[in-house]
Symmetry: D2
């Protein structure tokens, strides 16, 4: 550290709104990341309490804190990221926004790169502003886009996504229906009617694919499993689907394609991995393949992907800090 040229200085990052489930997970990853220095994490309610980063308590800070960092993560309630994005822009600080505020379909996506890492790696590497994808769309788009691009989907057929998520996906602000005594032993569909707010994001990235998305709430803290049924074009089978994925995701340490079987939630919880699988179905007139995709909503579905994006934006090792080994 004798020479202070910025090229060798360890990049410095900050976390705005670090006391929700996403922010805490992000700080957990940053605590083990050897390529960046976490300078601060803001939280009004938890100010003074320790974060996962040794020696770094939460602080109640405003925009002035941006002067101290090269990149900032926004882990705020949806809607609250807009002024921070503007302030970071003015301060010439890179941003990874984990809210929905600048995602495709939000109306504020202009000039912001969509941070689906495996899809947009080169744009992300050059971006100042990145919108981290929603949890459900991450799995749906990574599962379907290669099939769409390679023409493997039957035309105009509804693609049915039965998704199930752990309760941290609903955030940490206390609501009666998220109390332990309400969730224990329960399971339910929600967001019925195909108007979940994540659909805009899926539709923007999968133009022309009619997606029917039905989310369910699981009695587990974390993890998402998406069971996706797709009518396929003539001659297409699960093997062709796996081949399309393998071409697209070769080299990724985060996305894994199973040669057989399907992932369970416990294979991915507490990791930053996303696991893809495809199975042929018997006894149907229309050839249909079932895709089972699993990942941690707080890992690849939020904080893990945010760190992937940071690694690209700061020119660090692609998987530094990530929990990708089984």
């Amino acid at each position: 550290m004798t020479n202070d040229s910025s090229s060798i200085r360890t990049p410095r990052v900050g976390v705005v709104g670090g006391s929700g489930y996403t922010g805490r997970e992000l700080l957990r990853i940053l605590a083990g990341h050897r390529g960046v220095q976490t300078r601060w994490a803001t939280s009004r309610s938890e100010a003074g309490r320790p974060t996962a980063v040794r020696g770094l308590p939460y602080q109640d800070l405003g925009f002035e804190a941006l002067g101290d960092v090269d990149l900032v993560f926004l882990c705020l309630p949806h809607g609250a990221a807009v002024p921070w994005m503007e302030a970071a822009d003015a301060a010439e600080v890179r941003v990874v926004d984990l809210t929905a505020d600048h995602r495709p379909g939000s109306g504020r996506e202009e000039g912001v790169v969509y941070g689906l890492t495996e899809r947009n790696a080169s744009e992300i590497a050059r971006a100042r502003k990145v919108a981290n994808p929603g949890c459900y769309p991450t799995g749906v788009i990574l599962s379907l886009e290669p099939l769409l691009e390679d023409g493997l989907l039957a035309e105009s057929r509804t693609v049915t996504v039965a998704a199930a998520s752990g309760v941290t996906g609903a955030g940490r602000s206390p609501k009666p229906h998220l109390l332990f005594a309400e969730i224990h032993g329960d399971y339910r569909a929600y967001g019925l009617g195909n108007d979940h707010r994540h659909l805009k994001e899926m539709r923007a990235l999968l133009p022309g694919v009619p997606v029917l998305f039905v989310p369910h709430l699981l009695p587990v803290p974390r993890g998402i499993l998406e069971t996706i049924s797709v009518a396929v074009a003539p001659g297409v089978d699960a093997e062709a689907v796996r081949a399309a994925w393998t071409r697209r995701y070769a080299g990724s340490g985060v996305v894994e394609v199973l040669a057989e079987g399907a992932p369970a939630l416990r294979d991915v919880v507490d990791t930053d991995r996303l696991v893809l699988s495809a199975i042929d179905n018997e006894g149907l007139a229309e050839p249909t393949v079932t895709l089972v995709t699993a990942f941690d909503n707080l890992g690849k579905g939020a904080a893990g992907q945010a760190v992937q994006n940071m690694n690209l934006m700061l020119g660090l090792e692609a998987e530094e800090g990530l929990r990708c080994r089984r």
Copy 2:
């Protein structure tokens, strides 16, 4: 009880294989049933231990026990019901077989009435031999058959059933993957490939409907929730679906049609109810309705339906003993 004419004698029943989850649930219902007398419950492994019926321990009994009862429930491992069915036939004892051994598609269904209560009530009332339906098929068939009959389904379109069940559906014999430490925090699809053994039963009852059935294992002890996506015929919507169900299930104390919203698992667990709901979907080219159907796999999915069938077979009050109130 001074007069012993059989017309006023309380019917006597027996339970073969009463120590699994289904048998125990059945005995719990029978313990509160005022219209029958439970004479015995067999179990080799639990012989001598108490059942839910006061004063009735499990016994290790053979066919000779049939001489003592008017109706017998078979709660055996699949495959073991065949000789008991024959012995009961010879002894002229009525049978409700809760195994898969005599269900449609088993190859042994001849002369046995399929005990889907709301569908076959009059045949069941006259039957000596009834095959109690499988848990998953109960929900799928009750959901879809009225739509099929009324011509509400779009032709040749795959009907996707994403089903999720609590672990008692897998039985009580100890297997490593059903240990608490394996299931806690997990969720997974299983039976992938559309060849679950329950499909034969669904296909037999829903001829011409291409069903894609994907079951999942929930980290809860009991309950089934089925999320069914159906392309509908022109002009059909959720309201029409509800109307078809209401016509069919009017008067049932067990099957309930929700006017709005969808049932959660906790609405039906520990009851014998089955709750149907239908929701229109936005933004799809093909009009598609999502059905959410919930019930307890041990209630309407097994022991509750068995008692409904017994009530019909013995000429008792239709819902006597059942747990149907919310």
Copy 3:
């Protein structure tokens, strides 16, 4: 209702604050109770929504509702029962107060009978005002008082109570530490330092017994299990303890004394039973017996005991409406 002789009119009851966990459980019991008519249940937040009693929605009512009932249950937040008790007194309506406001040690216990049913049955039967015991004290006092009275405890020895409760014991108002994602997989001691608010009640009923009470929070919705270690007087053993309990609780359909073994939570959850057990310990210089006592915090620990008290106060069958069978 043409004839108004009180001896044949069905008593009418009301529930104030019926939408918390205790109030909902009480309404569930009342829904199956054949000896009373539930006239109303108040709740501001749930007004208009259904209760467990068929045809009875929650209403937002004030003191004027007291004119319509013979007995009222108070299921309010602690502190809020005082004005209702006064209003009920003025209206000459009997009260079962499920809050801590009038319990022993509260400073407001004068003129109010302590509703520990098995201890004070005759006073309760004559009382207008009854303070329903706290959940933890119910188990501790029923376990220890017969031992104290019969001189079975070693003198001046600390009695250690390691208690564990499901989370409904903490109520239904949403707090961050009671969210599903916080409780799942966790277990902790709380109220450390021997100053839990329930201790006043235990000390008032167990004078001279030095109780060390350590509660723990279980990752289950309901149920309490108390593991109590007592140094016993010379010559006393578990058999003597069981004999003292049996003498005291003979005839009770609610309190059960196990001849051997100890109850588990699942033996009592969703019931109104309380199960007592005592086990001798090996290898200790001081003879010490371990008592394991289990019950449902919402059953015998709250709503079940409240209904026991109501049955006594209204001259009904002692166990009418209660869930006491295994």
Copy 4:
């Protein structure tokens, strides 16, 4: 590997019986350990399947495998470690035995060092044979021994240990009472009567202390929390207890003494830490301090401690590979 002095060769280790919960956890730690090379892991039932160590499948191996390693871990069913210990002795291979077979009180402890790391560090560093402590005793002995040595305990007073453990403590062989549907929502005391097999170990290490040990089974996969009530000598309080611990465990990265409050299970699960806390109690004639001690039964309670011992025996960094940061 033909020559180079042993001082620079990476030590090689093997795991016997690696497919139970303890063995799998050990392999997970070894997978991230930079100071040793894991050569093999044996399992008959899982032979050919992957372990947590990349590229290392389970193998079905016999004693001959000992020729390939410097140290072997025995993760066998209790009773099965004796012949392996003899074979390792003959082969001059170091052993960490995670079974109960050579622990104090087993009758086979001669010549085997008791591997309670913080207590016996220097003997362990020189040992060829180490018996890894039982899970419950690890917490009880680390909590109490400093108090015993410093004379802080009141004489002849029963020390009450109310312990609770996750179900992995009962092992991975399938037993009906460990099925998910049995444990979910349950909680129970077991091993009643003060004759748990771990008591011999506690008594051997805490001579003269009358320990009353009551274990409970928690509906969680992992973690142990021990609530220990001790009558203290005149003038002793929680502060003095913390001081005794701090003197004893200074410098340990594994054992932590809380300055205030008490640990919850979630603070220690999935780590190798053990957290100690002490709280003064009010309102008791005999001064009594409550100790709350938490750790992961698979971490410090088994595999984590085994790796601590290995690190000492092989002269590696004390906390290499361990998960000790919050």
